[in-house]
């Protein structure tokens, strides 16, 4: 079981699954009718593994991330600081000098056995970007599954009516009052409009359905599907108009998941978790910095701070 979890949460496995998904998607586009692949086990199995991999990875990382952010180690060893992507040793610099010069971060201080440790961090929310994005993807996939399982409640998902006709749809009555096509000067169709009336129990509702605005009633989406254009140009009359009726119970989950995914992506790409440790060490201070996304600009800022400290030190020394 442990081995399975280890495999599922490993980045290599995730990369492999993504490659498989890419290849299958490519395959699905190369041949006419190739999109049957997307409802087949050939696609659904890797997709399931993708979801599992995302879920496992997120679950395993969320606790360490939380701990790292909320309870950071402040009293750290020299080796730790020297292992950070940015580190420098500044002999002769003191903690009071550091606190005087540094602006912009709030320091957390710890005094342990005559050594002062300073710690500051910014952008902690950025660490939660990846888990939020992963969660968003999972919610979205769940919405897709729910939609596939519970969609198309109506017994017929296409209905065809002549103008003036009405039909029973899933407990209410839809009547097509009028159907119009507007044209550009060139004779090309500009828009299709169907004026409909919807009678549900005692409620009567009239509306207009166009290509880009369907009618939504109690979770059912009624959209224009087509019309019979035979003889339309001469008579201006159609013999029938087709509507598509569908419901998708998973839609709210899909949109919710999509929003979460976008939020997570933006957070993880634009908010980096930056941390600085400063400790007293052998007649000077050790300064180290890291960022969860190696940001050149952040390290530059820290390096400029280091230069300022060295300046201050030489000024102080030349004064003495």
């Amino acid at each position: 079981m442990n081995a399975a979890i280890k495999l599922l949460s490993s980045p290599r496995f995730a990369a492999g699954i993504v490659i498989v998904l890419i290849l299958i998607c490519i395959l699905g586009t190369l041949f006419p009718g190739g999109d049957v692949i997307f409802t087949s086990i050939l696609f659904l199995a890797p997709l399931g593994l993708f979801a599992l991999s995302t879920a496992t990875c997120t679950l395993m990382r969320i606790v360490p991330i939380w701990r790292d952010v909320r309870r950071p180690e402040i009293e750290v060893s020299d080796q730790f600081v020297q292992s950070l992507p940015y580190h420098a040793y500044l002999p002769g610099v003191t903690i009071p000098q550091v606190k005087r010069l540094w602006k912009g971060f709030r320091w957390r201080e710890e005094l342990k056995s005559k050594n002062t440790y300073l710690f500051a961090q910014k952008g902690t929310v950025g660490r939660f970007g990846p888990p939020i994005a992963h969660l968003g993807v999972l919610v979205l996939l769940l919405g897709v599954v729910v939609g596939a399982a519970y969609g198309h409640v109506s017994p017929q998902d296409r209905i065809v009516m002549a103008p003036g006709e009405s039909q029973h749809v899933d407990g209410f009555i839809l009547r097509l009052d009028e159907f119009n096509v507007s044209y550009y000067a060139s004779g090309v169709a500009q828009d299709y409009r169907a004026k409909v009336t919807l009678i549900d129990s005692n409620q009567v509702q009239t509306g207009e359905i166009t290509v880009n605005s369907p009618l939504i009633h109690k979770g059912l989406i009624i959209s224009l599907y087509g019309y019979d254009s035979n003889g339309f140009m001469e008579s201006g009359k159609v013999s029938w108009v087709a509507f598509q009726i569908k419901s998708d119970a998973g839609l709210p989950l899909v949109w919710c998941g999509a929003l979460l995914t976008i939020a997570g992506i933006v957070l993880s790409l634009y908010l980096s978790h930056r941390r600085i440790w400063i400790k007293e060490s052998s007649e000077g201070i050790l300064i180290g910095a890291t960022s969860n996304k190696s940001s050149i600009r952040f390290f530059k800022i820290v390096d400029e701070f280091r230069a300022e400290l060295e300046n201050l030190r030489s000024k102080t020394e030349s004064r003495d």
Binding site: P11, A15, I22, C25, Y192, S223, I262, K293, I296, F299
Partner: protein
């Protein structure tokens, strides 16, 4: 002169200046003269100004935004990659990156001129607010990925150059502390590869993907919302949708590989190949696939740009593909030469 003629004029001027700029920038790359980069940049900016006016005129007299039919979409894409390049150069100096921008802008614009230019009034399905959101956002994401491609190719070339100068040289150059304290610029030799460190090129690629990936995600989502209202189905696995998802997966892999493995070279290759996916999503689906098969997709009316020449579009795609593969082929490192350090046996 009426608006259409003015637009045509602006278009031709832009086309010509992009061509001259390409030549100038290639010369800059070869001779490493700083002034040529400046000249190339100014030329692109000049052409861009004219193209902007042309696009604005187009929007005005056609009555719809200039990204509906083949001619418009290709023109807009060329305009947008130049816009991205110019934006890149605000506050920083990335002029030499134009070495790939100007040629692509020129080539795409040339192929645009092969397409029928008459405006195509919006069919009912396109009369939607989403036309103003989904299409430009997606095209902008393609531009960001193109910048990432350029940065990655430059990264791989520089990496190869460093490794050819010898392992010690490579290590020195890579760790010259240049990230935090930029090394002094060498005025004489300021070719593209010398001006930027590997870190800077990798950083540019990453930042470009950091722009392009959210944009593509939003592009896919707004496309799905549009599909839901217009077709009653937010995802129907049509080739355009599927390929945009493939591109999304590729750059998802880029971000994870770069974060996880610290292997910048692998990430660079992914970003470079990712551009092929971008181009297939943009051009391949609409022009190559229909040639490959007589395929009438669910949404060919929407995703096949109106009035396009499939042959011209396919030639453009395959031309870009060939150029990409050629560039990547040139970045591969040769195996180390035989006579490295002297071995014990040699030392008698």
């Amino acid at each position: 002169m009426d608006a259409a003629a003015l637009e045509h004029l602006g278009f031709e001027i832009a086309l010509g200046t992009y061509l001259i700029s390409s030549v100038v920038l290639i010369l800059h790359f070869a001779t490493r003269k700083r002034r040529l980069a400046e000249m190339g940049f100014n030329l692109i900016a000049f052409g861009f100004a004219f193209q902007t006016v042309a696009l604005a005129l187009r929007w005005f007299y056609a009555g719809y935004p200039p990204w509906v039919n083949s001619y418009e979409v290709m023109s807009f894409f060329a305009w947008a990659i130049v816009a991205a390049y110019l934006a890149l150069n605000v506050g920083s100096d990335y002029k030499s990156v134009g070495i790939l921008v100007a040629p692509l802008a020129f080539v795409v614009l040339s192929f645009a001129s092969l397409q029928p230019t008459n405006p195509t009034p919006l069919v009912p399905a396109l009369r939607s607010v989403w036309l103003f959101i989904h299409v430009p956002i997606t095209i902008l994401s393609y531009c960001a990925f193109f910048i990432a491609f350029t940065a990655s190719v430059l990264y791989l070339f520089k990496s190869k150059q460093l490794s050819e100068q010898g392992p010690a040289e490579e290590l020195y150059r890579q760790t010259e502390g240049s990230e935090y304290a930029p090394s002094a610029t060498q005025p004489e030799s300021t070719g593209v590869l010398d001006k930027f460190t590997l870190s800077q090129l990798d950083d540019l690629a990453y930042k470009s993907v950091a722009v392009g990936f959210p944009l593509l995600t939003i592009g896919i989502l707004t496309g799905a919302i549009w599909a839901e209202t217009a077709w009653g189905s937010y995802w129907s696995w049509d080739p355009k949708e599927t390929w945009s998802l493939i591109t999304w997966f590729v750059f998802l892999a880029y971000l994870h590989v770069r974060a996880q493995y610290q292997s910048r070279s692998l990430a660079a290759y992914i970003a470079a190949f990712g551009f092929v996916s971008v181009m297939f999503t943009f051009l391949g689906v609409g022009y190559v696939l229909p040639l490959l098969q007589t395929y009438i997709g669910v949404s060919s009316g929407l995703h096949g740009y109106a009035g396009g020449s499939a042959i011209a579009g396919s030639v453009l795609f395959f031309g870009i593909l060939a150029a990409v593969l050629f560039l990547l082929f040139k970045t591969r490192k040769k195996p180390p030469s035989v006579n490295h350090a002297p071995t014990v046996e040699d030392d008698h």
